[in-house]
Amino acid sequence: MTQQQASANRPILEVKNLVTAFDTRHGTFTAVDDVSLELVPGETLCLVGESGSGKSVLSRSILQLVDRPGRIVSGEILLHEAHPDPKQDTTTELDLAKLEPRSGIIRNIRGRDIGMIFQEPMSSLSPVHTIGSQISESLKLHEGLNKKQARERVIEMLRRVEIPNPERAIDQYPFEFSGGMRQRAMIAMALVCNPKVLIADEPTTALDVTIQAEILDLLEELKTQNNMAILFITHDMGVVAEIADKVAVMRYGKLVENGNVKDVFANPQHDYTKSLLQAAHQTQLPSTERLAMREERPLGDPILEAKSLRKEFYGKTGLLGMKKTTLVAVDDANFTLREGESLGIVGESGSGKTTLARCIQRVLSVNSGELHYTDRSGASTEITQLDDKQLQPTWRDMRTVFQDPFASLNPRMTVSQIIGECLLLNGMHSKADRRARILELLDLVGLPSSAMERFPHAFSGGQRQRISIARAIAPNPRIVIADEATSALDVSIRIQIMDLLLDLQKQLNLSYIFISHDVGLVRFFCDRVLVMYKGQIVESGDSEQVCTKPNHEYTQALLSAVPIADPTQRGQQKRVRYQQ
C-alpha cells in the first residue's frame, strides 16, 4: 500500500522547459514557449487555453507528432517506465524530445505507453476498416498477439468503454456508429494496450453536451481503473471543473498558471485565468445588463408570430433513387417574438434549430404553417408564401448573423464592400452616404475605420463576427437572427460579442432570435427560450424558469449534463438520461 502510494505521487511523464517552434516565411514562430508540466498516475491534468495558445502543439510534441515545419527546439520530455522494445517487458526512463519523429522507438511508445484521442471522431477513424481491425492493430504491433487473442481483448475493451453488444460492434464500420459511439471506440483504441498516459485533445468538443457528460464519466472511471495519467486538453472551464485534478493554463505558447483545480478556481493568480473564469461564471447567470434594459424598456408588441411551421426534407434511397424518404426537420413550431425581446432556441445537433431559423428567415421554403411579420407601420404580412422579390422588405427588417465567421464573409470583397452591399442594393446609391454609414456601423461594432479597405482574412474570428454583425444591422433591421453566432469563438471573445449584441439591442431596440447549443449562453442572453428535440419544440417559456425548473424530461436531461464551472460542486448534480 505504501509503495503504491509512493509511486502514485511520482510523475510518470515530465515535460521540462519544452520549446516547439515553427519556421515560417515571417521568421520563427514559437508555439510552445518554455513549458514545464508533470503528469501523475491517477490524476487528470487539464490543459486550458484558447485557439492558438499552443496546447495542441504541446500535446503533439509529446508524441513527436508535430508536422513540419514545426520542430522541438529544446527541452526534455521524460517518460518514466517506457517500453522502448516491444518484445521485452523491461522499462526505462526515456527522453522523448531526443527521439527522431520516425524512429522505431517513438512508434513503440505511441499507443503502448502513451495513448491519444483526437477531437474529431469522424475523421480519426478509418472509414474502410472495421472498428475491430482498427483497435486490434495496435495490439498486434505492440504486443504481438494473434488474431484470436486480439479479438478477445478488443471485445473486452469495447465492453469496458460501454459500447453495447461488443461482439457485434467489433465487426461494424465507423459509419454505423453515432458520434458518441465513435468517440468511445476511439477511447478503446487508445487504451487497448493499457497505456500509463492518455492524451485527450478536446475529445468532447465536437459532441453534444449529453454525450460529452457520458464520455467524461467514462474517462474518469477508466482513469481510476487503470491508475492512468490523463492530459486533457480543453477550452471549456465547465469541463475542467468537472474532471480535472490539476489545471494548467496556456496563453500564446506560455504556461501562465499551473496548480490544483480547487485552488485555481478559488484563487486564480494570473489575470488571464481570472478573465477565463469570469467569462465562465458570467454565462451561467442571466445578464445583469439585459435585466436592467428590460426594467428600463419593457418588451413591446409581438412582431413575429409562427403558427405550426413544418419543414420536411426529402431524400432518395434504394436503387436508382426510386424510394423516397421524408425527414421532418421542424414539426409544428409555434412561437411569438416581441419587440425588443431575445428569444433563444436551444437544442443539440440535429434537433432542427438551424432549419427552423432558416425557415423563419425564409432562406428555406416552408411546407406548411404561417409566419406573420408586423412591420414598423403596424401592417402584418404572411411571409411563408412569398418569393425572393416579395421578401425584400421583410429581409431588410429581419437579418442574420451566421455561425462561421470565415465562411460568411466573401473573401474577395473588402469590408466596406461587404457591409455596403446591402446598403447599395437597398437604394443608397451615393458613395459618400454609404461611406458615412459604414463608418458609423464600424464604430458601432467596435472596429477601427481603417478596417474598411481590408479583406476579411486580415481579421481574427471575433473581428470577423463584428463585421458580420455590422452587415446585419446595416439596413436598420428590427430582428436579428443569430445562428450559433458565437460558438466558433474563444470564450473571452464570445463574451465580448455577447456584450456587443446586448449593447446594440439597447441602442437600436432590436429583437433577437438566438440559436445555441449552449444552455448557459441562452440563460445569459435570452428572455424566453424554446427547447428543441428531434424537430419538435418540447418546452418553451421564460428562460429563468426553463433553466432552473424545467418541466420536460428532455430539458431536465440536457440541463443535468451541462458541466458547472465550479469544482466544489462536482458530483452533486444528479444526471438524468432521457429515453424517448
Binding site: 519556421d23 515560417t24 516565411r25 515571417h26 514562430f29 492558438g52 513540419r68 515545419p69 500564446y252 428567415q361 432562406v363 425572393d388 425584400q392 429581409w395 431588410r396 437579418r399 442574420t400 451566421f402 455561425q403 462561421d404 465562411a407 460568411s408 464573409l409 466573401n410 473573401p411 474577395r412 452591399e421 446591402c422 442594393l425 437597398n426 464604430d443 467596435g446 472596429l447 477601427p448 479597405e453 481590408r454 479583406f455 482574412h457 486580415a458 481574427s460 471575433g462 473581428q463 463584428r466 452587415r471 471573445i493 465580448q496 456584450d499 456587443l500 449593447d503
Partner: protein, 379 residues
C-alpha cells in the same frame, strides 16, 4: 465601447492585412519553383508564337534542293582569322557528297566556308502576323541568299527551326483558342447546372457523362473526316478547334458545376441573397470571383490536353494538313523509318510538344495549389 476591441493574435502576419486574394495566390505560387520556371517557359513559348515570323531565320516554306536532310549545324561565336579572334557568330559551310556505290548522301564540313549570322539582320521584307511590315529577323544570314540549319533541314530542304517556330504558333494557339471555347461552353452549362439545379442539372450531367464515356480519338477522327479536304487552311484550323472543344468543355463544366454547387450553399452567398442581390448579381459578383482561381487552374491543365489532341490528330493526318504547319504536321514527316535512320532531327517538334505539355502541367499544378485555400502553407 472602448474595451470591446479584440486582442490581436500574434500569429497573424502583419503584411497580409491588405493583400487581396490574388496577391496571396501569387505569393503561394512563387514558392512552387517548378511551376514558376514553367510559367516563364510557357510565357517564352507564347512570345515566340506571337512573333513567330520575327524568330524564324527563314521563311518556313522556302525549299532548297541542295540541302535535303541537311544535318543541324552548331553556331560558333568566335571567328578566328588571320586578323585575330573576334566575336562573330557563324556556322561552317558544308558540301554535299554522294557515295558512288550506295548513292547515300552525306554532308562534309567545309571549314573554309563560313556563313556569318547577324543578330537582327536584314532579310526579305515580310509581314509580322500578316499585317505589320518588317524586314529584320532575330537572326539572319549576313549575306542574303545564304542558308544555315540550326535544327537541320527536312526532306525538301526547308529549315526545321523556322518550321518548328511556325508550328509553335499554331499548336500553342490551338490550345488557347480551343480552351477558350471549351471554357465558354463549360462555364455556361456547368454554371447553369450548378446554380439552377433540378432537371437542367440532371440533363446536362448525363450529357457530360455520355460524352466523357465515348473514346475520344475515334470521335475526333470521325468528325474531322467530315471536314472537306479542299477547305481553306484557316477554316480548317477553326473547324479542328471546334471539334476539340466539343469534347473538351465537359471536364470544365464538371469543375464549374461542382464549385457552383459548393458555393451556392456558402453562407456568404446566402448573405448576398438576403442583402437583396438578384440572381445575376449573386452569380457574377459573389460566385464567379471565388471560382476564378479554380477556372484558371483547370484551364491551364486543359491546354496541354488540347495541344496533345491536335498533335495526335495532325500526326494521323486528319487534323491540320500542309501547308498549315503545326507540331503534329511536322511530326507526320517523321513517321517513316527513313527519318529515324537518316534524319533524327525531324523529331525536334516532338521535344517541343513534350516540354510544352510538361510545363503547362506543372504550371497548372502550381496554380491549383496556390488557388486552394486549404493547402497547407509550409513556410
Amino acid at each position: 465601447m472602448s474595451n470591446t476591441v479584440d486582442h490581436i493574435d500574434p500569429r497573424l502576419p502583419k503584411d497580409i492585412a491588405e493583400a487581396s486574394q490574388w496577391q496571396l495566390m501569387w505569393r503561394k505560387f512563387k514558392k512552387h519553383k517548378l511551376a514558376l520556371i514553367s510559367l516563364y517557359f510557357v510565357g517564352f513559348l507564347y512570345v515566340i508564337a506571337a512573333f513567330a515570323e520575327f524568330f524564324q531565320p527563314f521563311d518556313p516554306e522556302v525549299t532548297s534542293r541542295r540541302d535535303v536532310f541537311h544535318p543541324p549545324q552548331a553556331i560558333k561565336f568566335l571567328d578566328r582569322t588571320e586578323d585575330g579572334t573576334r566575336f562573330r557568330p557563324h556556322v561552317l559551310g558544308t558540301t554535299l557528297s554522294r557515295d558512288p556505290e550506295t548513292l547515300a548522301t552525306s554532308y562534309e564540313i567545309n571549314a573554309d566556308e563560313k556563313i556569318y549570322i547577324s543578330i537582327l539582320g536584314k532579310t526579305k521584307p515580310y509581314k509580322l502576323a500578316g499585317f505589320i511590315p518588317m524586314s529584320r529577323r532575330i537572326i539572319a544570314p549576313t549575306k542574303q541568299g545564304e542558308r544555315f540549319y540550326l535544327f537541320g533541314g527536312d526532306r525538301l530542304g526547308r529549315d526545321m527551326l523556322s518550321r518548328t517556330i511556325a508550328g509553335t504558333r499554331i499548336s500553342m494557339s490551338i490550345g488557347l483558342v480551343g480552351v477558350a471555347m471549351s471554357l465558354f461552353l463549360g462555364t455556361l452549362i456547368g454554371g447553369m447546372a450548378g446554380y439552377l439545379g433540378g432537371w437542367i442539372d440532371s440533363v446536362s450531367t448525363r450529357a457530360i457523362e455520355l460524352i466523357l464515356s465515348m473514346p475520344t480519338i475515334p470521335i475526333w477522327l470521325g468528325l474531322s473526316a467530315t471536314i472537306p479536304a479542299d477547305i481553306d487552311p484557316l477554316m480548317r484550323y477553326f473547324a479542328i478547334t471546334v471539334i476539340l472543344s466539343l469534347i473538351g468543355w465537359t471536364e470544365l463544366a464538371r469543375v464549374v458545376r461542382g464549385r457552383f454547387l459548393a458555393l451556392r450553399t456558402e453562407d456568404f452567398v446566402t448573405a448576398a441573397r438576403l442583402d437583396g442581390a438578384r440572381p445575376r448579381r449573386v452569380v457574377f459578383r459573389h460566385i464567379m470571383p471565388s471560382l476564378m482561381s479554380h477556372i484558371i487552374a483547370s484551364v491551364s491543365l486543359a491546354i496541354p490536353a488540347m495541344i496533345l489532341a491536335e498533335t495526335s490528330l495532325s500526326f494521323l493526318g486528319l487534323g491540320l494538313l500542309p501547308p498549315s504547319i503545326s507540331w503534329g504536321v511536322l511530326l507526320k514527316e517523321a513517321q517513316n523509318i527513313r527519318s529515324i535512320a537518316q534524319a533524327p532531327w525531324l523529331f525536334t517538334p516532338g521535344v517541343f510538344v513534350l516540354f510544352a505539355v510538361l510545363a503547362l502541367n506543372f504550371l497548372g499544378d502550381g496554380l491549383r495549389d496556390a488557388a486552394d485555400p486549404y493547402a497547407q502553407d509550409l513556410g
